[in-house]
Amino acid sequence: METQYVKSPLIRTNVTISRIMWDVVIALVPTLIAGIVFFGIPALWVVFLSTVTAVLCEALILRYPLYNKGIFGDGSSIVTGLILGLILPPTVSWWMPIVGSIFAIALVKLAFGGLGYNIFNPAIAARTILLLGFTAHMVIYTAPFDVVTTATPLLRPLSFDWSFIWGNYGGSIGETSVIAILLGGIYLLYRGHIDWRIPTGYVGTAFLFAVLWGIDPWATITTGGLLFAAVFMATDMVTSPVTPMGRLIFGIGCGFLTIFLRQFTAFPEGVSFAVLVMNAIVPILDKMTLPIKFGAEVSLERRTRTTITVAVIILLSWGALALVSNFTPEYRPVVAEGVYLPLEETLQTADYEKVDYKGTTFYYVGELDKPERVAFTSDSRGYHGPIHFYVVVDAEGVIEHIQILSHRDDPGLGSLVTRESFLGQFIGKSPEDEISLGVDVQGITGATISSNAVIRGVREGLENYVSAFLTEEEKTTFADGTYIGEVSSFGGNLQVEVVVSGGKISQVKVLKHNDTPGIADQALELIPKSIVANNSTDVDTITYATVTSKAIMKAVEKALATDANDVIEVTGAPLEVPTVDGIYQGTGTGYKEGLEVEVTVEGGKIVDITVVSHNDTPLMANVAFKQLIPAIIETQGLVDAYTSATASSEGLFAAIEDAFTKEAK
C-alpha cells in the first residue's frame, strides 16, 4: 500500500497514469484491427499471447497488484504486451510472444525498477532480443491476401502506393497500416500524451535522408515499422526526453539512425536499434536541452553563436557522411522490408549479381552463362496460404541450401515443414531427381498438404532455374531481322518495330500509339529498354501505365511471331500420311514430356494440326508451333526446326509421327 498525503495542491488532474495507459491501448486498437483484418486470426493470437503474458508476468513478479490494484495494475503491462505483439510478424511460433513478453516485463522493465525507471523501451528491447536470439523465427514475414508473391516492397521500384497506406502487405501485425497508425497517433496527440516533436522529427528526418541517399522516401516512411515506432514507441514517455528540445532532437536522431542503419548495415531492424540507441542517451539529452526559462534574456550574440555552432555541426556531420558514403563500397541491401535473404552466407560471397527472369529474381555468382551458385525464391500454395522458399543450388543445379521464408500453415503441424529433418531431404537433389512425395522425399504425417506444397514448390523452383540457366536451347534467341507488330492498346493501335541481331532483341521502337501522353510516357520509354535488357517480352509493368506496358510487350511478342523470315524450310522429308480420314492423336517429348497433338486427315492430306497440350515454355513453343504448323500443312512434310525452339519443334514432329502410327479416332 503506498503512502498518501494531504498536500496542496489538493485538486489534481483526472489524467492519471492508468488513464494514460488506457488511452494508449485505445490508440492501439485501430492497428490491432488492421492487423487482424490483413493477417487473420494468427495475428490476434500473437497479440493475445503477448498481452496476457505481459500482464501475468508483471502481476506475478510484483505480487501486490494482485490484491491492491487488480491484475492490470496501472495498465502499463497491457501497453507493453500489446505493442510487443503488434511489432511481431503474424507468423511467429506461439512461444515467441510469450518469451518476448517475459523478456520485456521481467528483464527490461522490472529489473530496472519498474515503470518509470526502465532505460529502454521494453517492447523494442524485447523484439531486438528475439531478433538476435531467434533470427530465423523472426524474419518470416507473410504477405496478406496472397497479393504479393515475395514480400519485397523495397526491391520494387515503387512510390506512393495505396496498399501501404491501408497496410495490405507483408510485415509485422500492427506496423503495416498507415491509416490505423495515424488514427492512433491523432488520438494520442489530441489527448496530449505524445509530443508532436518526436513523430514529426522522426518521420521528417527519415524522409529527408531517404531523399538524400536516393532511397524511395514514401516507401521508407510507409513501410517497415518506421511510422509505428515514430508514433507509439519513440514517444514512450518513460524512455524519451522530457524537454521539448530534447524530444525534437530525439526524434531527429531516431530518424537519422534508422535510415543510416538501413542504408549501411545488413540488419533488418534499423528502427529498433535506432530507438534503443536514442533511449540510451536520453539522460544527457535532458540535461543538455533545459528549456529557456520565463524571463531569461537570450542575447542576440548568444543566439547567433548557437545558430553558427549548430550549422557547423550539421555541415561537419554532413561532410563526414559524404566521405563515408563515398568510401563505402556500394552495399546492396539484401534486406527488404524484413524479408531477409541470407544471400552472403549461402552464396559464400558478397560478390553476386541479380537477374530477373520471368518474374523470379535470381542471385548468381560467376558468369551468367555458367553460374557457380544460384539463389532464388519460389513459392507454392500451402494449406492456408503461400509458402515462400529460398533455395540455393550449385553449378550443376544440386540443392545446397533450402529454407522456408514464410508460410501460413498451422503453427503446430504445418510448421513442421520448416524443420531440418524435413527440409534436409532436399539437400543434394538435382533437377534430374524426381522429387516427389513418398518416392524420394518423405512427407510429414498429418501435414501432407504442407509437405506436398513444399515438394511442388521446390520442383517448380528448380524448373525455373533450369529454364533460366541450364537449357541453352530454351533460352530466348530469335532469328535476326526486323519485325513489326501491332496490337490495340488503351487509346488505339500501338505499333512496334523490333530489331533482332545476334539472336537477341537489340532494339524495340514504338512506331505509333495513341495512349495518354504523360501517363504512358514512362511505359513507352522504359518498357522497350526493359525488353531489350531482359531479352524477353515478359518484363515488369510500370505502375499506372499497366495497359500501355502490356500492349508494348504483346506487340513485340506479336512482331516476333509474325514475320520470322528464313526460319522454315521444307526439308523434303515427306510424311507418310495415313489414307484413312480422321483425327490422329500422338504424343511427343518437346523440351518437356507431354506434348500432345491432334492431326486431322482428310482425303490423305493433313488439313489441321492442333497442339492439345504441352509443357514447354509457352512463348517460344507457341511461336514455333504457329510457324511450323502452317508449313507442315502446306508441305505435307516435315520442315526445319524452328531455330529458337528446337526441342519444341522436334517434339511436335515426333508427336505427329507418333499420331500416324496409331489408329484414327
Binding site: S8, L10, I11, R12, G114, P244, F294, G295
Partner: protein, 437 residues
C-alpha cells in the same frame, strides 16, 4: 470577446466557484474576542505599542516596526487588551499577538477623510503605510513598498484574475466595490506616477468585466482586459505577460518592465484608507467547500478566530477531509481552527473527501506534462528529484529560485507526485545554504 493570456505553460483547471460567486458579501458581526497577530505580512514583526488592560478603538494602531519592510497592525474591534501572547497562525508559525475583548461599541479611532486630489505621491504612500495595507491576494507584501518603485512606472495593473478554484472574494469585491476599485487604481497610479491603469479579469467573471467597463467608460487611461481562463494567470509575472505582453526578466520585479501589480482587494483597501481613513482592519474571505453548510463571502474583522468564521457560515457538521487557508492549489492545509483571520487570508475551504485528491508517490513516468505545464519554463520533475535530496548546486542549475510555487506541476502529474512540496523543500535548502554563506 477578444481575450488574452500568457503564452508559456499553464493549464485549465476546474473553477468550482458556483457556490459563492452569485451571493453578495455578508458582513459578519464582530466576535467577542479577536486575536491579532503582530505579523501579517512579509517583513519585520511589529512591536506591540499597547499594554494589557489598555482600551483601544477600531483602527487604533497596536503594533509597529521601525524596519522599512513591515506594516503596522491596527485594532479591529473596540475594547480592552486582555493579553499579549504568542499565537499560532494557520501555517503553524508562532508569532506574538494582541488579544482584545470586544466591548460591542464599534468606536472608531480618529478617522481622517482625504481625497487624492489633495495628496502628493509621498502623502499617499504615507497614508497607505500608516493604514497597514498589505497585498491582500495572498502574498502579504507591504503595499507602500510597491508604491515606492525603484524604476519609472508607466502602467498599474490590478489583478482581478482570481485563478484559484473556489475563491470568489475578488469577484464579489469587483461587483460590489467597483467605484472604490477604480478609485484605488487611480490612487496607485498617482502614487507611482503611471499614466495607464489596467484591470485584468478572467472571462469566467463576465459580470465584473461588464460592470468595470461601464464604470470606466469615461476614463480613457483605464483599460479592462478580459483574460482567457488559465491557471496560474493570477501570478504576477503571468498576469503582466497576459495583460501587457511584457516579460519580467528572471529574478526581477515588475518595475523592471515599468509596471506594478496590485490585488483588487488591496486597491479597494487603499481607496478606503485614503477616502474614509480606515486602516486595514477587516477583509472579505471566501468560505466554501462541500462541508460548509452556507458557503459565502464574508466581510470579517482581522483577528477573528477561523472557528467563529466557520460557525457564521453554518459550522462544521461533518469532519472535512482537508481545511485549507487560501485556495486549493497553493493554500495551506491546517487544523488549528483557533488561528485568526489575517490580512492576506483570501479563503477558508472545508473540502470533502470527494473534492480532493491525495498526493501519492507513484513513480514518475517522465510524461513531461509538468515540463509542458510549468509557466516559468522549468523542469519540475528534475527539480523535485534534486529537491528531495537537497542537491543545492543542481537545484540552482535548474533555476529553482524562478519557481513561483503555483502548484501546477503537481496538479498535472498523472502519478500524483508531490512535486510542489519537493521543489519548495529545494528552495528552502538553497535559501538556508545561501544564508549560511
Amino acid at each position: 470577446m477578444l481575450t488574452r493570456t500568457f503564452t508559456r505553460g499553464g493549464a485549465s483547471i476546474p473553477h468550482r466557484k458556483s457556490a459563492t460567486e452569485n451571493k453578495p458579501i455578508v458582513s459578519m458581526p464582530a466576535p467577542e474576542e479577536v486575536v491579532i497577530p503582530l505579523q501579517q505580512h512579509i517583513g519585520a514583526i511589529c512591536e506591540p505599542i499597547v499594554k494589557v488592560g489598555d482600551q483601544v478603538k477600531i483602527g487604533q494602531k497596536i503594533g509597529e516596526s521601525k524596519q522599512y519592510i513591515s506594516a503596522p497592525i491596527h485594532a479591529s474591534v473596540s475594547g480592552q487588551v486582555t493579553a499579549i501572547k504568542d499565537i499560532q497562525l494557520v501555517d503553524g508559525r508562532q508569532v506574538p499577538g494582541v488579544v482584545i475583548t470586544n466591548d460591542g461599541q464599534d468606536d472608531f479611532y480618529n478617522r481622517e477623510n482625504n481625497h487624492i486630489n489633495k495628496l502628493s505621491a509621498e502623502q499617499i504612500r504615507e497614508v497607505v503605510k500608516e493604514a497597514g495595507i498589505v497585498g491582500m491576494g495572498g502574498a502579504g507584501f507591504p503595499a507602500y513598498v510597491k508604491l515606492t518603485p525603484p524604476k519609472p512606472i508607466d502602467t498599474v495593473l490590478i489583478n482581478g484574475a482570481e485563478c484559484e478554484p473556489y475563491l470568489t472574494c475578488d469577484h464579489r469585491l469587483m461587483l460590489e466595490f467597483g467605484p472604490e476599485l477604480i478609485d484605488g487604481l487611480k490612487t496607485i497610479m498617482q502614487a507611482v506616477g503611471a499614466s495607464k491603469g489596467v484591470i485584468g479579469v478572467e472571462v469566467n467573471k463576465p459580470d465584473a468585466i461588464a460592470l468595470l467597463r461601464k464604470l470606466t467608460k469615461e476614463e480613457p487611461e483605464i483599460e479592462i482586459v478580459s483574460l482567457k481562463v488559465r491557471y496560474p494567470q493570477g501570478a504576477e509575472k503571468q498576469l503582466i505577460m497576459a495583460a501587457l505582453n511584457r516579460q519580467v526578466p528572471s529574478g526581477c520585479l515588475p518595475a523592471e518592465v515599468g509596471c506594478v501589480v496590485n490585488n483588487v482587494h488591496t486597491a479597494i483597501a487603499i481607496s478606503q484608507a485614503i477616502n474614509e481613513g480606515t486602516p486595514s482592519y477587516q477583509r472579505v474571505v471566501t468560505v466554501a467547500g462541500r462541508h460548509v453548510p452556507d458557503p459565502r463571502n464574508v466581510l470579517v474583522r482581522i483577528g477573528t478566530p477561523i472557528s467563529k468564521l466557520i460557525d457564521f457560515c453554518g459550522g462544521i457538521i461533518q469532519q472535512p477531509a482537508a481545511i485549507v487557508a487560501g485556495g486549493p492549489m497553493t493554500g495551506t492545509i491546517f487544523s488549528n481552527l483557533e488561528a485568526p483571520v489575517v490580512k492576506n487570508l483570501s479563503g477558508v475551504l472545508l473540502l470533502g473527501q470527494e473534492e480532493i485528491n491525495l498526493s501519492m508517490n507513484n513513480p514518475c513516468i517522465r510524461c513531461a506534462k509538468c515540463v509542458d505545464a510549468c509557466p516559468m519554463g522549468l523542469v519540475p520533475n528534475m527539480l523535485a528529484l534534486s529537491g528531495e535530496h537537497s542537491k543545492v548546486e543542481e537545484l540552482k542549475r535548474l533555476s529553482v529560485m524562478d519557481c513561483i510555487e503555483c502548484g501546477l506541476c503537481s496538479y498535472v502529474c498523472p502519478a500524483y507526485r508531490d512535486l510542489y512540496g519537493e521543489i519548495k523543500k529545494g528552495k528552502n535548502a538553497v535559501n538556508s545554504k545561501e544564508a549560511a554563506v
